[in-house]
């Protein structure tokens, strides 16, 4: 007990407790981190989430093409496999990364295209190749892609192509930008509404609390999809894509805040009766300062956890809206927009790889949920 303090009358001996020194000196945040690290699934969630956001940020560089580049010749072209070695004339294998091109036949009756891998067409590929122009991190223009065909006119579809012969891999990577950011920005907006209304509800209680809680129950009882549909139809058709993006954000936040408000209210309710809040009141501290200085620090970690759990809901909602064609519209690329293609039964029998953006949604939502669960468990290190 190196931390014990000598007391005046020498009965220090009696005033010691079995506290471990380590617990005494560590700060709140390192305790949270300590507890979080032991949650294996949450650590995986954190890693995957960070990876997805990193991919979203550098999508232009990582993807071999740009999302708008189309080649009608390669409608629904199947995925290609990367070959690393090629047999030269001498019959020896040499290192030569490449993919094989397609031989296309069109059925004269059904006009259905069928692709056969053409062993003779060799498309050489490489790292840091010059390709289509894009903006790196939205700051400077670049032509360099991490990997791609040496000649940008050659077909290169690692996970296949869509209806217009666009590279699905590129589009999925770009889609992460909108889908993942709509979660973040949307939650930021719901956070503001949620913390204010939840805080008022929990701190003042009484009539205010009852009214706000009934409003939340009302909002949550409205079937979400018809509500979105209604709100989305209110959006003028000729709005530019960026306006649509923000309009969708607002729609999602109008429902998303309820969950955060409930968490905040619950914490406020339990904190309000704590003795230290009463003590602050008797110190003559103003209400604003009680909320911000005395209560907020204890709420912070809980709010972070609630926010992390709210992001996946936003992502799912965006996907659902866009899938129905009422959310974001092409040319904006999001996972939900990409999934619109899977509405066509014939398209998916012919090109099942169109589901790849759906898998991305599942992975992202699971990762964020695991992360949020871990944060929630770790949020109160003193419990």
């Amino acid at each position: 007990m190196s931390d014990s303090v000598d007391l005046d009358d020498g009965s220090e001996l009696l005033d010691q407790q079995l506290t471990s020194d380590r617990m005494v000196v560590t700060s709140q945040w390192s305790l949270i981190w300590y507890k979080f690290r032991r949650h294996k699934l949450a650590m995986i969630g954190l890693t995957v989430t960070l990876l997805i956001y990193l991919i979203a940020a550098t999508a232009g560089f990582l993807s071999p093409s740009v999302p708008s580049k189309f080649q009608p010749k390669f409608t629904y072209a199947p995925p290609q496999t990367i070959h690393f070695f090629k047999q030269n004339e001498m019959g020896e294998s040499e290192y030569f990364p490449h993919v094989l091109g397609y031989k296309t036949t069109v059925n004269p009756e059904s006009f259905k295209r069928s692709y056969v891998i053409d062993e003779t067409q060799v498309v050489p590929i490489g790292m840091f190749v010059k390709g289509e122009k894009y903006n790196f991190l939205g700051m400077f223009a670049s032509e360099t892609h991490l990997f791609g065909p040496i000649d940008k006119k050659h077909p290169f579809y690692l996970i296949g192509a869509d209806r217009l012969g666009r590279d699905l891999l590129t589009r999925t990577l770009y889609g992460a930008r909108v889908s993942m950011s709509i979660g973040l920005v949307g939650v930021a907006l719901s956070l503001v509404i949620g913390v204010i209304l939840g805080g008022v509800s929990g701190f003042y209680g009484g009539i205010m609390d009852r009214v706000i809680q009934r409003v939340i129950e009302f909002i949550r009882s409205i079937p979400t999809i018809p509500l979105w549909l209604g709100l989305a139809t209110a959006m003028p058709q000729d709005w530019p894509a960026i306006w649509v993006y923000f309009f969708i954000l607002i729609i999602l936040s109008l429902i998303g805040w309820t969950e955060i408000a409930r968490v905040v209210r619950g914490r406020f309710l339990s904190l309000r009766t704590e003795d230290f809040v009463m003590a602050a009141r008797l110190d003559g501290v103003s209400e604003m300062r009680i909320i911000l200085r005395h209560m907020m620090p204890s709420l912070f970690s809980h709010i972070i956890a609630a926010v992390t759990l709210a992001i996946p809901n936003m992502i799912l909602a965006e996907s659902a809206l866009s899938f129905l064609g009422l959310g974001l519209q092409p040319p904006i690329v999001s996972w939900g927009v990409l999934l619109q293609d899977t509405q066509n039964l014939r398209a998916i029998t012919q090109a099942p790889w169109l589901f790849v953006p759906g898998i991305c949604v599942v992975v992202a939502v699971l990762a964020l949920n695991f992360l949020g669960d871990g944060l929630r468990d770790a949020a109160d290190p003193y419990s």
């Binding site: 303090v5 010691q16 617990m23 230290f276 602050a280 003559g284």
Partner: protein, 568 residues
């Protein structure tokens, strides 16, 4: 005296470890003791001394991640001697012993009974688990048990739920359940700590009586030296996981051998010898004058519903508090003493009555009618100390921030001035000023309460309302905190309203005492008069129920020698 030589339970070199955060807390280290049939062994110690862990180890009930590291727990079971330490935690054998041969009762009777089953259902289940009899027989046995623990109308009580019972009744039901299989050993882990003194006295009597009938060995864990003096045959003192001393109760209490035991006893006995009480001034100046105060709590109301249930928390109280005086308010839980203290601060608005507060300037303010700004200005003069020093300090604020908060809100001191003032206050409460930048969780309960006192005196108050400031502390710390408050009074002339259920603390600290029962003050007067010659029957009952740490007041006969047990 009985002449059984063989102990029913022998604990040999017991050690229990709790591995936490890569390091190990040795909760119990190398503890050995014997327990004989028919005797009461009291285990005393402060919080964290390992007394509860020892008791739980005997039944293999240690919570994770605790583990018995070494030692033997030799128990004379019906089927011969067994070493409980070797048994599987969830095995058949230990389950047979638990409840059947060794029973345990816990501190909190609310949480140890299921709220969704009737008392009868739980009792019958316990009886059927260990006996091969029909349900009807079990039911009549259950009723008989409730009669034995003196629950009125046992047949009716069988159909009641635990929440319909008071704390004392619940503890009785728990005891009935523990006794349902005629155990040879009863382990009681602070069974009366959560109860009022009058109830505590009844429960202690009950346990003693049942013990006599059944020749049961009782291992009684407590921190209350008064209880020890009243019921123990032998005492074992524990400190930081180790056994410090054991022996017959008269040996340990009257001729303690170890320094720790002496220190512990001194801190208890100090409360028995009151300090100088101030002689009342001929013309005391009144600070607070309460007239006909009535306050009701109502519940059950909703958005469209009128409140239905009404509780009269304060029912016509008249009270005056004079300058520089120490007024005690005693009463059992639910008597309205805390509510009274809080309504003086305007926290709960009263339904009727007047609370007049006389300011330093002579101006009289009616607290029940005061607006927020007036109340705020009074809060500098009237301060409060809370019961639980763990919840009354904000865990996310440093000690400096906490103590400076009233200064920040009520004065326009600069940062440097506040630093000086906080340093001064910390010195006044006996804390080194370096602690100002630490967070509360770095301090023990007693140190935290000192910090709370520093916060209370930050604005030079005239009155401090102290709501059970010592009841969450270990006995050894109580008189330290009380002495600190007394010293501060001498220096700053503060008046205290001291709310407590603990008569010994009130006797030590207060000049004048008001006894509350069911929202009314039944008796008020000088501390000596109330404690030594109480007039009202309720006060008499209250005073006589307090177990005193003095063998003079003991009713139970003392064992004269341990030789009857053989060695020791």
């Amino acid at each position: 005296m009985n002449n059984r030589k063989k102990p029913i339970l022998q604990v040999k070199n017991l050690s229990v470890d709790f591995p936490i955060h890569k390091q190990t807390i040795k909760a119990v280290q190398d503890v050995s003791f014997d327990l004989y049939a028919g005797e009461t062994l009291c285990v005393v110690g402060e919080s964290g001394s390992g007394k509860s862990v020892t008791a739980r180890a005997i039944l293999q009930l240690i919570v994770n991640p605790g583990k018995i590291m070494q030692g033997e727990l030799l128990f004379e079971s019906l089927e011969g001697a067994v070493d409980i330490a070797q048994l599987d935690k969830k095995g058949k054998q230990i389950r047979k012993i638990r409840g059947n041969e060794i029973a345990m009762i816990f501190q909190e009777p609310m949480t140890s009974l299921s709220p969704v089953h009737t008392i009868g259902h739980q009792l019958v289940e316990a009886i059927l688990l260990h006996n091969d009899i029909s349900k009807a027989e079990a039911k009549s046995q259950a009723a008989e048990l409730l009669r034995r623990v003196k629950i009125p109308n046992p047949e009716q009580a069988l159909n009641s739920y635990s929440f319909e019972f008071s704390g004392g009744m619940r503890q009785r039901a728990m005891i009935a359940m523990a006794l349902s299989c005629k155990p040879k050993v009863l382990i009681a882990d602070e069974p009366t700590t959560a109860l009022d003194v009058t109830t505590q006295a009844e429960i202690l009597d009950l346990i003693a009586e049942l013990q006599k009938d059944e020749e049961m060995a009782v291992l009684f864990i407590t921190h209350d030296m008064g209880v020890v003096a009243q019921i123990a045959d032998r005492v074992m003192v524990m400190y930081r996981g180790q056994k410090i001393e054991d022996g017959l109760v008269q040996q340990v209490l009257e001729q303690p051998k170890e320094a720790y035991t002496k220190a512990l006893l001194n801190s208890v006995l100090k409360l028995e010898t009151p300090p100088m009480h101030a002689k009342p001034d001929a013309k005391p100046k009144t600070i607070i004058d309460v007239k006909d105060l009535k306050l009701q709590f109502s519940s059950g109301g909703g958005l469209f519903k009128k409140p239905t249930l009404v509780v009269k928390a304060i029912d016509g109280v008249n009270l005056t508090i004079n300058e520089g005086e120490r007024l005690g308010i005693v009463g059992e839980s639910g008597s309205g003493k805390t509510t009274l203290g809080r309504s003086l601060l305007g926290i709960y608005p009263p339904n009727e009555g007047v609370i007049n507060y006389t300011r330093k300037t002579g101006e009289i303010i009616q607290i029940e009618k005061a607006n927020k700004a007036t109340l705020k200005s009074i809060y500098g003069e009237m301060r409060m100390i809370f019961q639980d020093p763990h919840s009354s300090l904000n865990p996310r604020m440093t000690i400096f921030e906490t103590i400076a908060e009233p200064l920040r809100a009520n004065t326009d001191m600069s940062m440097a001035q506040m630093r000086d003032r906080v340093q001064f206050l910390l010195e006044k409460v006996g804390m080194p000023s370096e602690v100002a930048n630490r967070y509360p969780h770095a301090f023990s309960g007693g140190q935290r309460q000192r910090i709370c006192i520093a916060r209370a005196i930050a604005l030079n108050p005239r009155v401090i309302i102290a709501d059970e400031p010592t009841s969450a502390l270990d006995v050894s710390l109580r008189h330290q905190v009380l002495d600190l408050m007394l010293n501060l009074q001498k220096e700053f002339g503060i008046a205290y309203i001291f709310i407590s259920h603990d008569i010994s603390v009130v006797r030590y600290f207060c000049d004048r005492v008001a006894v509350m029962e069911k929202g009314k003050i039944v008796e008020i007067g000088d501390v000596a008069q109330i404690c030594d010659a109480p007039q009202h029957p309720y006060t008499q009952k209250l005073i006589s129920s307090v177990p005193r740490p003095d063998l003079k007041y003991r009713k139970k006969p003392l064992l004269q020698t341990t030789m009857a047990y053989g060695d020791v």
